[in-house]
């Protein structure tokens, strides 16, 4: 089904006339944010609180010879200096990563990336803590680093992970999906095969709020309260219990307001653990908040995939098969966050939106002397890399076949009647109707007119490019039988409680970092039980207050937790029917629902509102057997499948032929995320993701020099886009509801980040077609574009 109208909504919704349910309404959380009253980790001040700071390694690869903390400890305001040796004694020098590797909390043997944690100072204030770092004397024996992933598996490459038993190389894993023999056979007989190396450079999520924690360990009752910048408070609590030995019921993790996550705040960083150790050691609360350089240099990066892409097609443009070999740079520790069975995340959705005969991919992960991480920056578990690969390859094929790239895509889309569509690498796409979405984007763009304009401009020597990307996402991880992180199934819980006066609280296991959960989830409940969203409080981010679940990343909140919330609301609605029947002295089956009210079939004047039923539930009316005296319910939702949002993006760029400077003139984004709960929030998510995409395509890059020094350690060197680099976004939508999600919603948080980089790069490459450019790697900085115009494209190493 494709419809082009919003659900009934009020575009100018202010305080009046808000939707009772889905629709456009202002965010409930915004008044505190726009007034500067958000409450973040760094705003937390506890009595007697101390401050921690981390000494970080100045080099990428070095043996730790000695460390002398005498002078630092003599600083009058310093209470503790913790080293790797101290942690070793506690059994905490190494912590498990989310990918079943281990990561050093503090260096004990060897530095493995520049910026790695070496020592932790706890002092009376943050100034003294920083000053004391300079008083720690460390001697390093510098070793040759592995910087280029391509050289990580060389026979003479230094072995980075000699801490691991029997390790003699830098290999982490080999993984594959699809059928190699079938794919090779299709390639062997194809009319046309195009090959291209495509590099997705290392980038960083760079949330506005850096990572930090306040740890408060109570030595009397052994209870730890940990305020953290985390996207997954429950998973963190369980992992802390497993690592620290503090029993889980004695740990409370609180994630207050979070200033952006983008996957950067999924993992457990050494700083969090050090804050806890600092609190245990000193008996006082300890705050640790990293600075911008620490965030950029040591926390989870994203991408760093070197992809050899190949696409096979018939001469008339029927795409037959795709294959790729990927070299994945995972840095010094394998600390990506993805479901256990999928070391390359969901990269195998690289078959995209096309009906193929065969596909095969291999991914090899290697260690390098760079910061660990890997799955972050709104990447949908590597769907970003997958979509970039397929959408670049399709464009390169279009050039080879001399076909319009829109026409080539339209010719190869999976047809609506093929859904649910089993692709060649093991996915079952739940739903889709691609052509109307593509056509709408072309109509909004004025595609044919743009091509005419481009032709005229080319004749005048002007460089204009039009880039298309059609992406299919896979989000909402995921079914417990297939998907877990360290053994924790990827389900989410929801609890709904209707107070006697008819107001409600819904408690969720996912954590907002700006997505608007407090609004969206209230609207989902409102839609189901007819209580206005403003009467529904959404509680999240505190493990003492919320049910268990795996948190917010991979666009999973609405597909998983949104489903849990819809189902728990339906459970309450059904319970309300029994209570209403008791109150009306009739049978439940004789009642009929209208939004907010059960009434007697055939006599709408006799009924009970949710508020009346709530009071009744807590009142004196005799309740039927099996019905408790409340109007509460809880649910844990295990999704039967992932959801598959999709979209068509068109980007128009102008390139200055004299300088190589790229100006994004227009960007048209048509998204289909299924049922739209709050269109305004969706648009906000899209705007943010598109801005991310322009940033990655044009400027973002964590670069290293030959010694392994990180060259992207500040916002002077790691560029992120501003309002000046992006156009007014032109957004549109279609609606193809998910057939298996209770309300048909699919998730949208990462769609634009996933879908937009190839649109921008395709546009730049299209603009450079007169120079014979077929591909260039991101970032498309002026210098790199100019080099491409000189026939000197180069990978971003």
């Amino acid at each position: 089904m494709t419809i082009l109208e919003d659900r009934p909504s009020n575009p100018a919704a202010g305080d009046h006339d808000r939707p009772i349910g889905h629709g456009r309404m202002q965010r409930k959380e915004d008044p505190r944010f726009v007034r500067g009253k958000g409450h973040y980790v760094d705003d937390i001040v506890l009595p007697g609180m101390l401050h921690g700071a981390i000494l970080r390694a100045p080099v990428a690869h070095a043996r730790l010879v000695s460390i002398d903390t005498t002078e630092a400890l003599a600083h009058p305001k310093v209470l503790a200096v913790i080293t790797g040796t101290d942690l070793q004694a506690l059994g905490l020098a190494w912590a498990p990563t989310l990918s079943m590797d281990v990561q050093a909390v503090l260096v004990t043997d060897k530095v493995r990336f520049q910026g790695q944690e070496v020592a932790f100072v706890v002092a009376e204030d943050r100034y003294a803590a920083r000053d004391a770092l300079e008083l720690i004397q460390v001697e390093y024996d510098v070793l040759p680093p592995v910087v280029d992933a391509r050289k990580a598996m060389d026979a003479d490459a230094p072995v980075i992970r000699d801490d691991l038993e029997g390790r003699t190389d830098n290999h982490i894993f080999d993984w594959e999906a699809g059928n190699k023999a079938e794919t090779d056979a299709v390639f062997a007989s194809a009319d046309v095969v195009v090959t291209q190396e495509i590099v997705y450079p290392r980038v960083h999520p760079a949330p506005m709020e850096t990572c930090g924690a306040v740890a408060d360990f109570d030595p009397i009752d052994g209870r730890l309260t940990l305020y953290e910048t985390t996207q997954a408070p429950h998973a963190h609590r369980t992992l802390f219990a497993m690592v620290s030995g503090i029993p889980e019921h004695k740990i409370r993790v609180v994630s207050p307001d979070i200033g952006g996550g983008f996957g950067n705040k999924v993992g457990i960083y050494p700083g969090y653990i050090l804050a806890v150790v600092g609190s245990i050691v000193t008996g006082k609360p300890v705050k640790w908040v990293e600075d911008r350089s620490e965030n950029l240099m040591s926390t989870s990066f994203a991408r760093d995939y070197i992809m050899q892409g190949e696409i096979a097609a018939t001469r008339d443009g029927k795409i037959l098969a795709l294959r790729t070999n990927v070299l994945a740079d995972h840095g010094a520790f394998n600390a990506t966050a993805q479901p256990t069975k999928y070391p390359a995340g969901f990269f195998h959705i690289f078959t995209g939106s096309y009906d193929l005969q065969a596909a095969h991919c291999t991914v090899t992960g290697v260690y390098t002397n760079k910061a660990p991480g890997g799955v972050a920056y709104a990447c949908s578990f590597r769907v970003t890399e997958a979509v970039y690969l397929v959408e670049r390859m399709v464009d390169i094929l279009a050039r080879k076949l001399e076909m319009d790239p829109a026409e080539l895509r339209l010719k190869n889309f999976i047809k609506p009647e093929q859904f649910p569509y089993p692709n060649k690498t093991g996915w079952e796409y739940d739903s889709g109707d691609y052509e109307p979405t593509m056509r709408l984007s072309m109509k909004m763009a004025g595609y044919d007119e743009l091509r005419r304009e481009q032709k005229e401009k080319r004749e005048r020597g002007e460089l204009m490019g039009i880039g298309i990307s059609f992406f299919t996402e896979t989000v909402g991880a995921g079914p417990r039988k297939d998907m877990d992180i360290l053994g924790l199934g990827m389900a989410d819980g929801a609890e709904l409680r209707i107070h006697p006066t008819g107001k409600a609280v819904v408690r969720i296991s996912v954590q907002s970092q700006g997505q608007g959960h407090e609004t969206t989830f209230a609207q989902i409940v409102a839609e189901e039980i007819g209580i206005p969203p403003e009467d529904i409080d959404v509680v999240h981010g505190d493990t003492d207050q919320t049910p268990f679940g795996l948190g917010t990343y991979g666009s999973r909140s609405t597909p998983v937790s949104g489903a849990a919330v819809a189902l728990v609301a339906r459970k309450v609605r059904e319970k309300a029917r029994f209570i209403a029947a008791a109150m009306l002295e009739t049978r439940p089956e004789d009642l009929e629902w209208e939004k907010g009210r059960w009434f007697v079939k055939g006599d709408p004047s006799i009924g009970k509102t949710m508020a009346e039923i709530a009071m009744g539930a807590h009142g004196t009316v005799a309740l039927p057997e099996g019905i408790d005296g409340n109007l509460d319910a809880e649910v844990t939702y295990d999704p039967p499948n992932l959801t598959f949002p999709f979209g068509a993006y068109i980007c128009v760029v102008d390139v200055d032929p004299g300088t190589g400077h790229v100006k994004v003139r227009r960007f048209i984004a048509v998204d289909d995320c299924g049922t739209r709960i709050n269109p305004m929030i969706i648009e906000g998510q899209i705007h943010g993701g598109l801005t991310d995409g322009v940033g990655m395509a044009l400027m973002e890059f964590i670069e290293f020099d030959a010694e392994g020094n990180c060259l992207g350690g500040s916002f002077m060197d790691y560029l992120i886009p501003t309002a000046m680099e992006v156009p007014d976004w032109e957004t549109g939508f279609t609606v193809t509801p998910s057939p298996h999600h209770p309300i048909g919603a699919k998730g949208v948080g990462e769609s634009a980040t996933v879908g937009s980089p190839p649109a921008v790069v395709n546009a730049v490459v299209d603009a450079l077609a007169p120079f014979g450019v077929v591909h260039m790697d991101m970032p498309c900085t002026p210098a790199r574009v100019w080099e491409a115009m000189q026939g000197r494209t180069r990978p971003p190493v």
């Binding site: 044009l698 060197d717 560029l719 210098a783």
Partner: protein, 295 residues
């Protein structure tokens, strides 16, 4: 939060007071105006002054005035003031061009011309602009005032003729009839330091020939003007061929380094391309202002 090493702080109340404080606190004291270069360096602990002498109360140095055939710019004049000045736009569009692409509004609201020139960052725009405009720097110290040409003032990357116990107090820019100017920068993103930039000033005589010209480059390893272009352009009527030759000379005169902003040959190319563009714009503007006067 990045935290500087410990330092002491004092607020100067006048130029004389600032000079006295500099004298008193000696070599490990630094003046701070807008603070957009010094404070980040302090936070990274790359700069560690013992004393910070805050000169933001020296309102006496915050002025723009036309004094006969000279535009006098107080050293504490903020970038925003220069950007928004109609007189500056009319007389020296190169300043407006440059200010438009210096950092962002937050930096421009605080940063000063004096701070920019004294910091002398090789990618800093106003040094090039002042070279091109043949500005004079007025420096005051215990021994009184000195007037320095930009060639004497600006000694190289991060280095000026201003001694530890002196302050730059004013920049004087000569106003020439029939003259105009332009500046253009290539940056990876708004607010980024220049990959490369060029500025030009030209004076056209009544016959439309170039009677005076200056071309300067930013961020490509040439601190002084591209003097080679004068011999080629002076006395000539502007043509595209002449601009091309000037661009070629500029690309040969510069000495860029390869870095994250680009390789050497790209930067040389930009020196050429941008020189042509700014000469073209400056000549067009000079001709337009001449025709306005005759009307």
């Amino acid at each position: 939060m990045q935290i500087p090493a410990p330092f002491d702080y004092v607020r100067a109340s006048s130029v004389d007071n600032a000079l006295a404080l500099l004298d008193r606190h000696g070599a490990e004291s630094r003046v701070v105006a807008g603070g957009h270069s010094l404070l980040p360096m302090m936070k990274l602990r790359l700069a560690r002054p013992d004393w910070l002498i805050d000169i933001n109360d020296l309102f006496e140095l915050d002025y723009l005035l036309i004094d006969g055939q000279t535009l006098r710019i107080g050293a504490m004049t903020r970038h925003t003031t220069l950007l928004e000045s109609d007189d500056v736009q009319r007389l020296f569009p190169i300043i407006t061009d440059a200010e438009r692409v210096i950092a962002d509004p937050i930096v421009r609201n605080r940063g000063t011309i004096g701070g920019s020139l004294c910091q002398a960052d090789p990618a800093e725009d106003l040094s090039t602009v002042c070279h091109v405009l043949e500005a004079v720097a007025v420096v005051r110290g215990p021994a009184g005032e000195r007037m320095l040409s930009m060639a004497d003032f600006h000694r190289g990357p991060y280095e000026t003729a201003v001694a530890q116990n002196e302050l730059l107090i004013e920049v004087r820019v000569p106003i020439r009839a029939g003259s105009s100017s332009a500046y253009e920068k290539v940056e990876r993103r708004v607010g980024d330091w220049a990959v490369a930039a060029a500025g030009a000033s030209v004076t056209l005589d009544s016959a439309g020939a170039i009677s005076q010209v200056a071309v300067g480059l930013t961020a490509v390893g040439l601190e002084q003007n591209v003097t080679e272009v004068e011999a080629v352009l002076v006395g000539q009527t502007p043509t595209e061929e002449l601009f091309t030759e000037a661009g070629r000379l500029a690309s040969l005169a510069c000495d860029p380094l390869a870095d994250q902003r680009g390789p050497i040959d790209y930067k040389r190319h930009l020196a050429d391309e941008l020189t042509r563009r700014v000469l073209r714009a400056a000549c067009r503007r000079a001709a337009a202002s001449a025709s306005e006067i005759t009307i």
